[in-house]
Symmetry: C2
Subunit: 342 residues, 2 copies
DNA sequence: TTGTATGCGTTATCAC
DNA sequence: GTGATAACGCATACAA
């Protein structure tokens, strides 16, 4: 299919290429109504489609947004199997497309850094999910483009952050358990890194305990990787060797599902013997057996919000945007995995 | 961060920009070893990163691949919540990135068509998942680029198809049920469209029945949308009003999970009262309760294969590639939702 | 208001 | 082998 250029449009309309460019870019103040009319018709009839590569070259603006998501450790694959990221992407893409932007979705090579892609593609901005090593962020600061971070507690004037109050979320979850009469509550979680989201949730766990006058028992935190498999291990352990535990807060829904499986494998039931609450409210949470009680963060909205933030940062190029993080709301969704004691 | 251009590299190396271009593009036959050395060092020291927009303009090749995935009907969001697509994307992205390509992931507006994006971005190729209306494919044929279809039975010389033998898959599933002594087997499925994947699976269902000398009963096919929710409805219906049915084949894992839920809601159990088998083996299949027996199509491999096909088609520009579809293998994964009768 | 001419960074076509 | 230089398609400063 042959490419229609701006020149052909200009010839058909009987005006200059400059005029065409003005009209098509909405610089209506620079052209007469008559020209606008002619150009628009010509463009229409020829079915003119601008070439973004050329535009990018002339403008230094590509209408391209980089979206980075973590990869699995072993194989070099995106962590997209985690519905949390999928749903985030849904939200992001929908907003971007409606604004005429496109999304380049990719993981990031361990050695290389993301700088290459950024420079090669003249990205207008980027949304980074997950947590990476320091050097990655240093790279990011060098390129002069708006960047939105998701799931990060790195507060730096170079970045906008769209987050949730993870500490509160942890608190809400554990408090719900406490309100239902539980006093021996385990925490099943991924590695607790300084300033990571799980650390905050962990802090919320401790605060809820403390406020209720309950004793924090380090033996009741099961910490490893954020996977269904580890949840399963932890669930078995809890059911088999910790008869005192009546409830567990898992810091992700997938882990919660693993816990339920593990508990069951040891001949106990959820929620009869052990109550479980998760975090995120991924779409599968409601499909689990029994349907999982969890802390809902409206993931898709969060993705949309991140995109919105980025777009407005791009538009306000130059003007500093407020550097306070955007905090999305949380809600406790009570389904069937928490039992009221007594 | 300032952009280093090819000109600066050429100056530093003391050669022409043409020489730099030759070296960097591996046209080593056109330059002396000495120049190669100098250019490489200069590029290294300056940390030169080529601009793909410029390259795209000069070459008419963008190193950009369009990946299209269906959207939800209601809101304009990607169907990425469906792990089937997520996993496909994982496979695709990993292969593309390793070959120096990037992926533009997007849905497609109902009215617009995909032509715009294609032309705007000078896409080198595209991978299309799902099924669309005729006009969409007509558009696709107009642009002269390699295209790979996933989940489609459109055999046209313009497209490569990376598929599975859906008929066989359906057959395998139902046959497994029959081997376990079931004779009244329901089918729970999305809308059966002519030449769609579910139609093939439906055909496999019927063939298995027939070969086993069983009677095909239209009342035992529950056909609506490919959702957890519909699976749930169907499951309830089956458990409540069809005591003769002892097993169901759901044409997607998500539907199967819904069926299980529905069955349970009516006071029956899986697999004690009703056996269930799914299709796809999404990552959540093993996490369901009980773990779901299903027909596994290695989704990630399929994504990788699709990317490989596309890349080799791009490289062989001009030469026709074999137009027979690539068929990926299937495997029955027996977990805990099918009970042996008697 | 309109058109001309130039630059954006690369590659490719030539002469040398 | 090597190096000017003209495309590629678009936007824009400047001249008209």
């Amino acid at each position: 299919m042959k490419r229609i250029t701006i020149r052909e449009v200009s010839e058909k309309a009987g005006v200059s290429t400059a005029a065409v460019s003005y009209v098509l870019n909405g610089r209506h103040s620079k052209v007469s109504a008559d020209t606008i009319e002619k150009v628009q018709r010509a463009a229409q009839e020829l079915n003119y489609i601008p070439d973004f590569s050329a535009r990018s070259l002339a403008n230094n603006s590509s209408k391209l947004i980089g979206v980075v998501i973590p990869q699995t450790e072993d194989r070099k694959q995106l962590l997209l199997q985690n519905p949390f990221y999928s749903e985030l992407i849904c939200g992001i893409e929908s907003q971007l497309r409606q604004s005429g932007y496109h999304m380049i979705l990719s993981g990031v090579e361990k050695g290389e850094g993301y700088l290459d892609t950024t420079m090669q593609r003249n990205l207008d901005g980027a949304i980074i999910m997950g947590v990476y090593q320091e050097s990655f962020y240093d790279d990011l600061k060098k390129v002069n483009m708006p960047i939105v971070l998701i799931d990060s507690y790195i507060y730096d004037r170079h970045f906008h952050v769209v987050g949730i109050d993870d500490e509160l979320g942890g608190y809400m979850a554990v408090n719900h358990l406490i309100e239902n009469g539980h006093t021996n509550i385990a925490l099943v979680t991924g590695t607790i890194r300084k300033d990571g989201v799980v650390e905050k949730r962990f802090l919320g766990y401790k605060r809820a305990l403390k406020e209720a006058g309950l004793f924090y028992n380090p033996d009741h935190v099961f910490e490893h990787s954020v996977t269904y498999e580890y949840g399963y291990e932890a669930g078995k352990l809890i059911a088999a060797e910790h008869p005192e535990i009546t409830a567990v807060f898992a810091t992700s829904d997938q882990m919660a599902m693993g816990v339920m499986r593990g508990v069951r494998e040891e001949g106990k039931d959820v929620p009869e013997h052990i109550s479980v609450i998760g975090f995120d409210d991924i779409s599968f949470a409601r499909m689990s057996t029994p349907p999982l009680t969890t802390v809902d963060q409206d993931i898709i909205s969060r993705g949309m919000k991140a995109a919105d933030c980025l777009l407005s940062a791009i538009q306000n190029k130059g003007k500093e945007l407020p550097s306070e993080p955007t905090i999305m709301p949380l809600a406790l969704v009570a389904r069937d995995t928490v039992r009221k004691l007594q």
